[in-house]
Amino acid sequence: MAQTVTSVPVPDIAWHGEAVTIGDVLGALSGIRRKFAHAEAGEDEHPRARNCVMTLVAVATNSADEARAQHASVAIAAHHPHMAIIVCEEVSVREGRIDATIATHPLSPSSTVHAECEVVGLHVQGAAGEHLAALVDPLLLSGVPVYLWWLDSPPFGTRELLDATRICDALVVDSARFDRPYQSFLGLADLALSAHNHLGVADFQWARLEPWREAVAEFFEPKDRRDYMKGIAEVGVDYVGDARGNRIAASLLVGWLASALGWKVKRAVGGKGGVLVAHFELEGGRQLEVAFRSVPKTDLAQGEVSAIRISGASAGRTFQLTVQRDPERHHRLTSDVGPSELKYRHRAGGDDDAGLEVALRTATRDHEVLQRNRETLTHMATGDLPGDEQRHSSTVLPRERRRGENHVLLTMIDIGGAETLRHVQQVDIEDEATLLLKLLSTGANDTVYTRSLTAAAELMRAL
């Protein structure tokens, strides 16, 4: 399990320069390293080797993102010696100029590891900002993996990004922060397919889905439940948002299921109240419906998955798995609140309130009308209202991601009509430093993510 990063001391500014060259920065770094080695060595001892486990190159386009990158880097430094290069681009400024700072941060006094963290800040104005690889390459340490963290939407499809990926081992993004979720997500999927073989692509959004994947995978793990995977009939995914919204997390989760279980997306239809149904074809030509529904939730960030329901039957036995984030209301049986036949017609709804709501919506939607309405389908697929101007704003605000609380996942298992088994698990609300550690601990080369990303992009294109 990745370490949770908490304490964030302030690093010391060891050097700064205005209107400098990268050669100046290199010279300053060498001087700082020499001083550190001499200070660390005792009178009769030789300096120990510097430890450095990675170089983190963070690209920010505003001071708020720059501060986020600094915060994450210093938080990671509490456990892991590394070098961070934080590039803040101001490419719109005509005058070319580089201002630089170098901050150093020794590991905590209790640590016996002789190491420190270096944070190089580069404020780049003008065209130099468009040549990221040339700026950063001379500062990289030999033999140490390089992770490129783009704090907002990377410029997919540009030469700048392609060059930058050539000097790094992995590109890290947060698809929940993409300004234009649909286009950027497809750009990310294209990059993952076309980039050089050794480039890992990592997404915070994917890391946030891990508890969901674990809960679903766990249900099908016992050998006597493996065949249930072939018997899945309906899937329902709720994600946070109003009628429109960022459906990336929900699509990634379904893309993961589809790529693992061999589902092929065929078409999608919209329904009332923001429900969208994707139709998949399974082995043997069997059909499967996946219902996406946006739900308003004040305590979760926009776009986050709030529930998944999977139901079906195998060998004459019905099953239903419901995984739900932060259940707010007391469990009520469907029979208490609505017609009991809904429970059987729309199994993906589940016994919880949200599930019943899905069942009611599913029951009342009119497929034929909506299938004819192509404009509405576009609205469903992109999140943009018909004829409305596209809003290019981040859908996930920093403050929404940093509540510092723990949440729970409630898993409910119904097998063959037996008593519902309820299982509660903790989900840490992880800050960016923790998510970075989690992603980088695997080397950011995750083939399951890549294939899920591809399937999710296919799904989004079909929607």
């Binding site: 080797a49 892991h80 590991l107 590891v113 994947r213 995978a217 766990e218 065949d227 903790q426 993510y449």
Partner: protein, 510 residues
């Protein structure tokens, strides 16, 4: 019509790093109110739950003589987890879920009816929590109870459900070869050997497992890992603590049986074994047992010159004055039990011919440390005059604390002249991997639930270890060599230094 064949693997589990759960199961802990359960097992289960590593439906049934009910056991569990969990502060939601998965049945091990009550409870939980009849029985009890528990499990019908049945026992696995064989026979009357999990918690440590990765996943080390280039191997397992409240047990065990027979010899096996064909339980354990069988027996006449036994006297440890062993609780004032053991041994096979393995284990030493120090031979020709002062190359595998690996080699001192000195390249787990190291018991409990016995000791390994230990133990009972003493807070008696100095070597300073 035949039913379809179940999928061989779960495609949804691919890529999940921490996904260790397998079939849902139930764990019965015998001695659930005891020290081991409170300090290690219950906190480990809480932390596994916190990491979402336990399957839905997983339940623990505590079985002990204390007159408790579910609520009382949950209260006890809450107390011990609060006190001993490695992760603090506790998460209230996880703790709540953990406590709700705990149940209790009062069991007097001598009463069959109590085991039948246990079976009824287990069967009920199995049905309501979809556990598939899978059961793990953990004996957190003294070894003399194992036989009774095993037989009552059989007679009480607790080994008849349709799922798997595994039993976990703690060391010591017998007190000599004869008793170890008897214990194996007792266990195998009811459980297949593949279902017997003998816990040596050292093997659950990440760094112990990393010995195999270091040796067999890297091309550059294995070619030098033999008698051609290795001069000697030193294994140190030191503790700063005394016997604390375990004086009664320790009086019967001593350092030889308590540490050397299991932990230390397991480390020897991992360092010296041939490459297994895979990291699969049978392949790994087959290679380990070959090493244990290849250890040259120390003949009766050699025990006095190849071994050292010592006992700590009063002294200073970590800045505090401490009493001697004979003043400890439940220890005889005239005790001759060793708290330190030093042994020189050889592994008689092609790879290790003539390479001495030095083992030293002890209590009340300056600090808690476990290390394997591989010392290489000097270069065949001395090119540099100043290299005479240079120590030979060495690889140190640090098991605990500060888990890691160091490589020592010579380098030129930057100056006008040509002076050489030792430098080291350090690899530390803490800073090199961006993940936490799990606690050994957590790993082992999970492996047990999964059914992976790779990190557990097999019966033939236990027997091979006792075959080597028994003659030493017999000579020591005969006071050969005489019991030496050492002040608390030192690295053992002077005789231990003489053991290696006689071969022209020194102990590595951990």
């Amino acid at each position: 019509m035949s039913s379809p064949r179940p999928l061989d693997h779960n495609p949804l589990a691919e890529g999940l790093i921490d996904f260790k759960v397998r079939d849902p199961s139930l764990m019965v802990i015998f001695g659930a109110t005891g020290d081991l359960s409170g300090r290690k097992l219950l906190p480990a289960i809480y932390n596994l739950m916190k990491q979402r590593l336990l399957p839905a439906g997983f339940a623990v049934v505590g079985a002990a003589i204390d007159d408790l009910d579910d609520a009382g056991f949950r209260k006890h569990a809450s107390d011990v987890v609060t006190k001993f969990s490695r992760t603090q502060p506790l998460d209230p939601q996880v703790l709540q879920a953990f406590l709700q998965s705990l149940f209790y049945v009062r069991v007097d091990f001598s009463k069959l009816e109590d085991f039948r009550s246990l079976e009824r409870k287990v069967e009920e939980l199995d049905r309501t929590r979809h556990l598939g009849g899978n059961r793990v029985y953990y004996c957190a009890t003294p070894p003399p109870t194992y036989e009774t528990i095993v037989e009552q499990l059989r007679d009480g019908g607790l080994t008849k459900s349709k799922g798997f049945h595994r039993i976990v026992i703690e060391k010591p696995f017998g007190s000599d070869l004869t008793s170890a064989r008897e214990l194996t026979q007792i266990l195998q009357r009811v459980f297949h050997e593949d279902s017997v999990f003998r816990i040596d918690h050292y093997l659950g440590k990440e760094t112990v497992q990393n010995i195999l990765a270091f040796r067999f996943a890297n091309a550059i080390f294995e070619p030098v890992w033999n008698a051609n280039l290795i001069d000697s191997v030193q294994i140190t397992a030191a503790e700063e603590i005394g016997v604390e409240l375990r004086g009664g047990y320790y009086e019967k065990a001593g350092a030889l049986r308590d540490i050397v027979q299991n932990h230390a010899l397991q480390l020897v096996a991992l360092v010296a074994m041939e490459p297994p064909t895979s990291f699969e339980a049978t392949a790994v354990r087959d290679e380990k047992v070959k090493v244990l069988r290849a250890i040259r027996p120390i003949q009766d006449g050699e025990v006095a010159t190849s071994t050292v036994r010592g006992q700590y006297k009063k002294g200073w440890v970590l800045g505090e004055e401490v009493v001697g062993y004979r003043e400890e609780h439940a220890v005889s004032p005239g005790s001759l039990t060793e708290t330190f053991a030093g042994i020189r041994m050889f592994v008689d096979n092609w790879r290790w011919s003539g390479v001495p393995f030095y083992i030293r284990v002890g209590k009340r030493m300056p600090k808690r440390v476990t290390e394997i120090h591989i010392r290489f031979k000097r270069p065949p020709h001395n090119t540099f005059a100043s290299a005479r002062d240079l120590d030979p190359n060495a690889i140190t595998l640090r098991i605990q604390p500060e888990e890691g690996i160091s490589l020592r080699f010579g380098a030129k001192v930057p100056s006008a002249g040509l002076r050489l000195r030792n430098v080291s390249m350090d690899f530390t787990y803490m800073s090199s991997f961006l993940v936490e190291t799990p606690e050994a018991y957590e790993r082992l409990l999970l492996d047990c639930m999964i059914g992976d016995p790779t990190l557990f000791t097999r019966a033939d390994e236990v027997e091979a270890a006792w075959t080597f230990i028994d003659p030493i133990e017999a000579a020591w009972r005969d006071d050969r060599p005489p019991l030496a003493s050492y002040p608390s807070g030192t690295w053992g008696p002077p005789e231990a230094d003489k053991l290696v100095q006689a071969d022209g070597r020194e102990w590595h300073r951990p």
